[in-house]
């Protein structure tokens, strides 16, 4: 059922959510809009195309404790479990889509990532459709759109001075019927559908430039192409692309101990770093930038699709905007298509 909520009522709802649980929302600080825990709706910035870092920070934090150990003479291990419930507000459609891609890796298969699963279960995602996609956005290339709501518990669409809202899951309905009680009004179904349609059809200019159709298959026999030599020369070897990416999920396990006790952490790692695959004996299967750059793009556009049947990219455009040298996935897709067309 479609609902509406006024801007003021949305503020009240967010204030209530911030008071009763941990609310994560976009905050503008020192020129950067990023997701942060907030105490009140007044801290929230609403004027952003997308946040500098994604919801990944809160579902799969950059470093998180897994266990505590004591090694004084004996050994005891205590598992640490993430317990805190949280509500995330202002999540854009591309980032909602990225959560589904992370889910495939971390919650399916023989083993599940219990930490991620627990956070997922304890997080309410409030999506916010995109009013003005940035010139680096290309979600439409992957079949998403500025109004794409899959993955949201509650989806909001700005409609003039109010918001169209839709609760899409039990968690979402609990928000709308609980803290949101009395703040939402039923919407005119036809008008609401028209708003959704307008968002779904909103133009994403850069998306038109990036055609991903069939790129997974094009890459099947592209491993040895000269292209990787040429393109990787530009790479600086930093980890910006992987760390701002809402779908990159590679990690590292590491210990920190003081005296006889310590913690084991899980932290993000980056396939762009030289030490990422270097083995204890010194052998490194990806010794140069060429192999590492190739790995990153092959993983997103070929290996992951082989395993999980979708691309590991949602066109959020963060790497397009933030790569210091303009070496990003949209460019690689265009290049590969160009190389293949001339081959």
């Amino acid at each position: 059922m479609l609902l509406t909520i006024t801007a003021d009522n949305l503020k009240s709802l967010l204030d209530k959510l911030a008071r009763d649980s941990l609310l994560v929302a976009p905050v503008l600080e020192d020129g950067v809009t990023r997701l942060k825990p907030v105490k009140a709706a007044s801290e929230i910035a609403l004027d952003y195309s997308n946040t500098a870092t994604s919801i990944k920070d809160f579902l799969f934090p950059q470093s998180e404790d897994l266990l505590r150990f004591v090694t004084d003479g004996t050994l005891s291990i205590e598992e640490i479990k993430p317990e805190r419930a949280q509500v995330a507000f202002g999540i854009r459609p591309c980032d909602l889509a990225s959560v589904a891609l992370m889910d495939k890796v971390l919650t399916t298969g023989e083993y599940a990532d219990t930490h991620y699963q627990a956070r997922r279960k304890n997080t309410v995602l409030i999506g916010l459709a995109c009013e003005s996609p940035a010139d680096t956005c290309f979600c439409t290339s992957y079949g998403y759109n500025p109004g794409h709501s899959a993955g949201a518990d509650v989806m909001l669409y700005k409609d003039g001075d109010q918001y169209l809202a839709e609760a899409l899951s039990d968690k979402g309905r609990e928000v709308v019927g609980g803290p949101g009680e009395g703040l939402f009004k039923p919407a005119d179904e036809a008008a609401g559908q028209a708003v959704k349609k307008a968002y779904a059809e909103k133009e994403v200019p850069f998306g038109k430039e990036v055609d991903v159709e069939g790129i997974d298959q094009l890459l099947d026999n592209f491993f040895d192409d000269q292209y990787w030599d040429d393109v990787s020369k530009k790479c600086l070897g930093c980890g910006t692309c992987t760390y701002v990416c809402p779908t990159c999920h590679c990690f590292l396990l590491t210990d920190e101990a003081r005296g006889g006790e310590g913690l084991r952490f899980r932290c993000w790692d980056s396939c762009m770093f030289a030490n990422y695959t270097k083995m204890a004996g010194g052998h490194n299967p990806r010794p140069s930038k060429k192999e590492r750059v190739r790995q990153r793009f092959m993983h997103k556009l070929n290996y992951y699709p082989h395993r999980y049947h979708s691309y590991l990219c949602t066109g959020c455009g963060r790497c397009v905007a933030m790569c210091p040298v303009g070496l990003h996935i949209a460019g690689v897709i265009k290049d590969v298509k160009g190389v293949k067309a001339h081959a």
Binding site: L22, L35, K36, T53, D57, P61, Q62, S63, E256
Partner: protein, 162 residues
């Protein structure tokens, strides 16, 4: 919550450096002293053998030369729980290796200002030239530093959380 605020509860900077938290009951300042083997360490020794009284708040780490004391050591000491750091070596001109302390002097002129610039109170990092015969100066320096730190309270701005 974002890991970037791991050290901080949801309400902004965790160890909020702007609010002074009172020192816990029974708190004693902890000082890490990096002392050059040839002068300051001998000076500290002399203070001991001459039975000069000074506060027991300092833990001395002996290094070959003040030129060996990487400013990273100082930052780490603060992070791992030091309330104050003393960097000490031979007087200029007296270096066992001729020039080590001249390099240290340049380095700490810059590093001391830089560490302060990052927000550590200036009193917490002391650099002193203390020779092997200056047992009294060593004791005085430690006493002076201890008193200053006692007035300042625990160092929290560079403290790490495990």
């Amino acid at each position: 919550m974002s890991v970037n605020e791991k050290a901080a509860p949801a309400a902004g900077p965790a160890t909020n450096p702007t609010t002074a938290t009172p020192a816990p009951e029974g708190w004693e300042p902890k000082i890490i002293g990096f002392a050059c083997n040839w002068c300051t360490y001998a000076g500290a020794d002399l203070a001991g053998t001459s039975r000069i009284q000074y506060p027991p708040n300092i833990r001395v780490i002996r290094v070959p030369c003040s030129g060996r004391i990487n400013p990273q050591f100082v930052v780490r000491a603060f992070q791992r729980g030091a309330d104050g750091v003393l960097v000490a070596g031979c007087h200029p001109g007296d270096c066992h290796y001729s020039t080590g302390n001249y390099f240290a002097r340049r380095r700490y002129l810059l590093a001391k200002r830089f560490i302060e610039y990052l927000g550590v109170e200036p009193e917490r990092l002391q650099v002193r030239w203390i020779s092997g015969s200056e047992g009294q100066k060593f004791a005085d320096t430690v006493r002076e530093l201890t008193e200053k730190l006692r007035a300042l309270g625990p160092q929290r701005r560079l403290r790490e959380t495990l």
